[in-house]
């Protein structure tokens, strides 16, 4: 499965056999009844699926325009959509006979999901996390430790998600015989983008069914945030052929014009990193650029190859939302609905509010509320102190 020119398997030769093993195993089990029912069992009884699709009436009234629905992935065990992928891949790893999981994490949500899956299935778990992210997401670091995972702090390069992936890949090169690299987003070499997407499609499938029940059809517009892009692809995928507006929201940080942002699809160029051909923020020499976002989960200079493809095919619009606008949406949802969203999801929310304002009040917008904001309270507090923003 390739995504036009994008995707591929750009890795050192030593990783070809483990990737082939994973691809072949996944090909065998993805439609296997035993695997699917075991996955469903854990998603329903352990993770908390299906998640509600909530009509945010107060927010809708405040914005004035289209009806805004929230897909409540924030209510999942662990606080984000990441558990869908964590449990799925851990089950695959178990079937391959691996007894150790490694993962990279930015905001820590994927690390937490992996640590939970590791604890659940009795697998040793090590999580790589950039030192900058360790500092700004310390609650999640402690959570992972409580769950029995070992945290490897990465002090290289930009000390964020990109560098955590580098270090996890370095681990895997020597540990693949007993270790599964549980990639956290729709990034990396084939078959990861496909596996992670398939495991996240449950978000879109449920939403489609729920919208039909609630409104008798598909929504007019769906908005999701994009770092690597797993929650967005999982949400968009079942709607790709429905002719509705799909919007992926990247982190515009302090503004794309300042250079301090993570808008890969907005400002990146084609390149090759982390096993895939995709868009990357980079200089003219091909050196990967430093990024900035208030949300650690979006602070990545690349993006999943399928998003690159969907952008070029014009199937999905990709836009940017700044730190400040995300903070505003964070505060607004907390106040109007009593729901504290993750900073990542706040980017999607901010854009959705903008879009909804310009739509008719018989139209529907769905926002994928991919995670909850507990992990972000420290950052938000600091940001509010440093800026002129009011709570």
């Amino acid at each position: 499965m390739e995504f036009g020119d994008f995707g591929g398997r750009y890795v050192p030769e030593v990783l070809i056999p483990p990737l082939e093993e994973l691809e072949s195993m996944y090909g065998k089990i993805k439609h296997n009844k035993g695997f699917c029912s075991e996955l469903e069992y854990y998603l329903n009884t352990y993770a908390g699926r299906p998640t509600p699709l909530y009509f945010a009436k107060n927010l809708t009234d405040k914005v004035g325009g289209a009806r805004i629905y929230l897909k409540r992935e924030d209510l999942l065990h662990g606080g984000a959509h990441k558990i869908n992928n964590g449990i799925g891949q851990a089950l695959i790893a178990k079937m391959m006979g691996k007894d150790r999981l490694i993962a990279e994490t930015g905001a820590g949500q994927h690390g937490v999901a992996t640590a939970m899956a590791g604890a659940l299935f009795g697998m040793r778990t090590e999580v790589y996390m950039g030192s900058k992210d360790v500092d700004r997401q310390s609650t999640n670091v402690f959570k992972m430790m409580l769950l029995g995972a070992k945290i490897n702090v990465v002090n290289n390069g930009s000390c964020t998600l990109k560098d955590a992936i580098n270090e996890a890949m370095r681990d895997w090169v020597s540990s693949f015989e007993n270790t599964h690299y549980l990639v956290g987003s729709v990034v990396g070499p084939r078959p990861y983008p496909e596996i992670v997407r398939d495991l996240q499609i449950v978000i879109g499938k449920e939403t489609k069914k729920q919208m039909k029940e609630l409104c008798g059809g598909v929504p007019d517009c769906i908005v999701a945030c994009v770092g690597g892009g797993s929650n967005a692809i999982g949400m968009f995928y079942p709607f790709l052929d429905d002719g509705i507006r799909l919007i992926g929201v990247e982190a515009a940080g302090k503004g794309v014009e300042t250079g301090k942002h993570s808008s890969t699809l907005g400002a990146g160029e084609k390149g090759v990193l982390h096993g895939m051909l995709s868009y990357f923020l980079q200089d003219n020499e091909g050196q990967i650029a430093g990024t900035h976002s208030i949300s650690a989960g979006l602070d990545y200079p690349g993006v999943g190859p399928e998003h690159a493809y969907l952008k070029d095919e014009k199937k999905v619009e990709y836009v940017g939302v700044t730190d400040d606008d995300a903070l505003h949406a964070f505060s607004c949802l907390s106040k109007t609905e009593g729901i504290i969203p993750a900073l990542e999801s706040s980017h999607a929310l901010a854009y959705a509010m903008d879009v909804a304002k310009g739509m008719d009040n018989d139209e529907n917008v769905v926002v994928n509320l991919s995670g909850r904001g507990d992990k972000d309270l420290g950052i938000v507090k600091e940001a509010l102190q440093c800026s002129k923003l009011q709570l």
């Binding site: 050192p12 990109k162 370095r170 090169v173 160029e269 090759v272």
Partner: protein, 250 residues
């Protein structure tokens, strides 16, 4: 590209400066049969701490691809020793494979290794290499399947680069058993010359591998470590080290 048994030296270009790199190449030239020159990349995933550090230092000193072609051009004025450029694929992709190979040829480089470009992603790349007379070199590992090895062997590469163990670059106390197993297997399946790299840092390692049938041995981290320690003044220590490694070929 070389007469076996051979010694291949690796250093990262621009660490600590492009002037130093040119000097270091001239020092190594007396003892190494092929000079591998690393083009630094911001995210060297196949490299251990030593070569990661070299990459960061080279980028810190504002090393560009153009400045590296310049080093090659200057070196070529006084030596015919083959030069192999080693980097990550994004550097080549970003410049444009065609332009990269053309500039590499014009500068006087002989071969190119893209660490994260496996053979089966490299169709067009190989054609372009061919058209500019730049020899592509592919890496193989102890776990590379036999049918893949044969395809790589038939690809028209200058030599086969065998990664000696499951891991990243960096000095090891000894050559692991798996290196010898892989060496025997690869040797029996491939007609091209075979160079073994990763984790080799002492003359006794060189001796053991050459004794086991390696056509060449590649040493990188051990040299880079010296540059890390002595910086601009590493010339003499580098010479001592490469001399010592050369002893292993006897």
């Amino acid at each position: 590209m070389f007469k076996a048994p051979a010694l291949i030296s690796f250093i990262t270009a621009g660490d600590p400066s492009t002037d130093a790199t040119l000097r270091f190449m001239k020092v190594l030239d007396g003892y190494a049969d092929v000079i591998e020159l690393g083009i630094p990349f911001s995210d060297p995933v196949a490299d251990g701490k030593a070569i990661q550090g070299a990459n960061y230092r080279a980028l810190e000193s504002k090393t560009t691809v153009d400045s590296i072609f310049d080093i090659v051009r200057k070196f070529r004025k006084s030596s015919d020793t083959p030069i192999v450029l080693m980097t990550y694929y994004n550097i080549i992709y970003r410049r444009g494979v065609e332009k990269f190979m053309q500039d590499a040829r014009d500068a006087g480089a002989d071969g190119v290794i893209s660490v994260d470009l496996p053979f089966d992603e490299a169709g067009d790349y190989q054609l372009i290499c061919d058209s500019y007379g730049i020899k592509p070199i592919f890496m193989v590992a102890p776990n590379t399947a036999d049918n893949r090895l044969k395809k790589i062997d038939d690809s028209g590469c200058a030599f086969i680069y065998l990664v000696s163990h499951y891991g990243i670059t960096g000095m090891q106390d000894d050559v692991q058993e798996i290196a010898f197993e892989a060496l025997h297997k690869t040797k029996s399946l491939c007609k091209n010359q075979l160079a073994v790299g990763f984790g080799i840092s002492r003359s006794e390692h060189v001796k053991k591998l050459v004794g086991a049938g390696a056509d060449a041995v590649i040493v990188g981290s051990a040299l880079v470590k010296i540059i890390e320690e002595f910086g601009e003044d590493a010339d003499e220590k580098l010479e001592d080290k490469i001399k010592e490694l050369r002893e292993g070929l006897r």
